[in-house]
Symmetry: C2
Subunit: 351 residues, 2 copies
Amino acid sequence: MDTELTERQHIILRAIIQNYLETGEPVGSRTLSKSTELSLSSATIRNEMADLEDMGYIFQPHTSAGRIPSDKGYRLYVDMLMADKEQELTDLKNVVLEKSDKVDKVLKQAAKVLAANTNYATMVSAPVNHRNTLKFIQLSQVDADQIVAVIVMSGNVIKNKIIEVDEELGNETVLKLNMLLNTTLNGMSIEEINLGLIARLKEQAGIHSRVISDVLDAVAEIIHVEDDMEIYTSGATNIFKYPELSDKQSAQEIISAFEEKQQLAELVTETLSSEENHGIQVYIGDETPVRTMKDCSVVTATYELGEGMRGTIGIIGPKRMDYEHVMKTLKTLQKELDAINYKEPKEQEGE
Amino acid sequence: MDTELTERQHIILRAIIQNYLETGEPVGSRTLSKSTELSLSSATIRNEMADLEDMGYIFQPHTSAGRIPSDKGYRLYVDMLMADKEQELTDLKNVVLEKSDKVDKVLKQAAKVLAANTNYATMVSAPVNHRNTLKFIQLSQVDADQIVAVIVMSGNVIKNKIIEVDEELGNETVLKLNMLLNTTLNGMSIEEINLGLIARLKEQAGIHSRVISDVLDAVAEIIHVEDDMEIYTSGATNIFKYPELSDKQSAQEIISAFEEKQQLAELVTETLSSEENHGIQVYIGDETPVRTMKDCSVVTATYELGEGMRGTIGIIGPKRMDYEHVMKTLKTLQKELDAINYKEPKEQEGE
DNA sequence: TATTAGCACTCCATTCACCCGAGTGCTAAC
DNA sequence: GTTAGCACTCGGGTGAATGGAGTGCTAATA
């Protein structure tokens, strides 16, 4: 890329972008000639800008207006940022992630912190049972026709369901079932617990009662049910701060996406599947996998709660987003979340 | 109120309101003189309108514009609607409330259905443990330093938590604890399970180990923890369909309220506490308990999931909302939700 | 050869005047 | 009590004028 742009052009491009990030207004040659460290006349800068435009890094919204970075321009800028040696991290304001609490509380809080620190819309997806193993399972008779099944997965995610049965199983049977389930399934990953295994279990149970078969089916279902991805969001209304996104049309689309969450889910799976750059990914404009956000930029990161539980944190904002700050902030929060499960099991009271 | 308005004025007021509901434009005398069943000249109607304005039921946004209903006007209109003998209910489109499913799924779906049927923003609050009793409780040792406590409440709400302990309890102890907890707490309401009772339990446990004491405390905590009210929303972006609410300022405020949910929670408690009119309440403009919605109307209803579990469904829209339709729809859904728990435990497969 | 000063040109955004139409209030006639 | 008629008001829309920011190009300069 050194062949593509001269040093000076790099500087000018960066100046254009930085200026545009702040003001949101097309930036003209005069402005640049004053602000840039290299002291050039506006005319010279105009020439360079014409070149940059030819190469597609910037463009004019209309003749006789200043220049605006194109997607390609942003891309170059972001790539340069990423190439920078290890950036130091920013401090997060208001980070009080109560690590002791339930996961969902922490994540909700995380989304809020992120929004407060960046002034963009944010999302945090709950960790998904990736390579997750079963840690404990237990059936209990609640009353004559209800059984509650409780399953603890690695990472202490708890699933449960009430199973309705038409005939009482009796203490003994329940006990036997529990034993069977625990000895067989314990430590297995979800993928390993497939239909074949369940079928074998049924046989092994030695009883051909329909009830037991039903119960086992229910258990299998609980384990596999893709808890439709929980996603926490915050600051969606921040988009109103950016005129280019807050006309009715765009605002409605974006906010809808945040409300329905379906599209955010797609974003999450996309992020989780493709892993690069320390888990930080930047989608500019059309690059984003979610159509409704083609006028936005999306920055995402993957966090790891240990034991294969991975989730996504993300920021959605205008294309003229403060990428540098956002990436730093995201990285910080990522570290913060990653750290949560490194705590020794015993350490609880410590601040 | 008959003393206040003549029959003819009533008719005219209603005509104004209905016309305004549809168009959103101030309605003038000429329009009315053509549309109303009573055939009067525009001049006559103008006189009546002037009177109605003096009494505060309508007003002009500016001289030489048509009239718009005031809050007082809406109020009268709504009161008349409410007074109407039993209104028949509307059919809901897309109602497929999977009754078997978990409560939260049903409620999410309910919010969606409501939004789809009305074109307004909707919210559904999860039932709150009002006069809720404990049905089943069980501790299980997950591994050396973790116990999972599962509690099933009436209405099949399941709570659970992992309790960290510093020493293993041993099977026997756990068994004893379970026995104790179940025999003592079963069937009790949350209010009855207070600190005193827990203290007595601790004694009764006969063991003075700190561990057991800790566990019991944790149990008490789970039971009492006010799951911060779950609220499901849908169709928040519907407000963009109404220009009077979709300027940046208002839109941001309203949508914020829907995102943060704090304010909706206030609305819910308000609704649950004051009960009138078959549980249907209408707040017009300033009447609403939530400040951010002073330019909206809010219609809420209370549903009952049986066994003292009560929640709120609500619709937020512009003041020129189709009150009649909304109230009918709300009533229908309310019935629908109420009916869910009337199902015989055995009936499951039936449509 | 690279830079700069200067100038003509373009185009957007703002302002202002203007007009039109919808609607009113009032008065006088029915 | 109702209606016809008229003068008046006001908001919204249209079009022309204006100014400013910015450009591209050319010619002069280092």
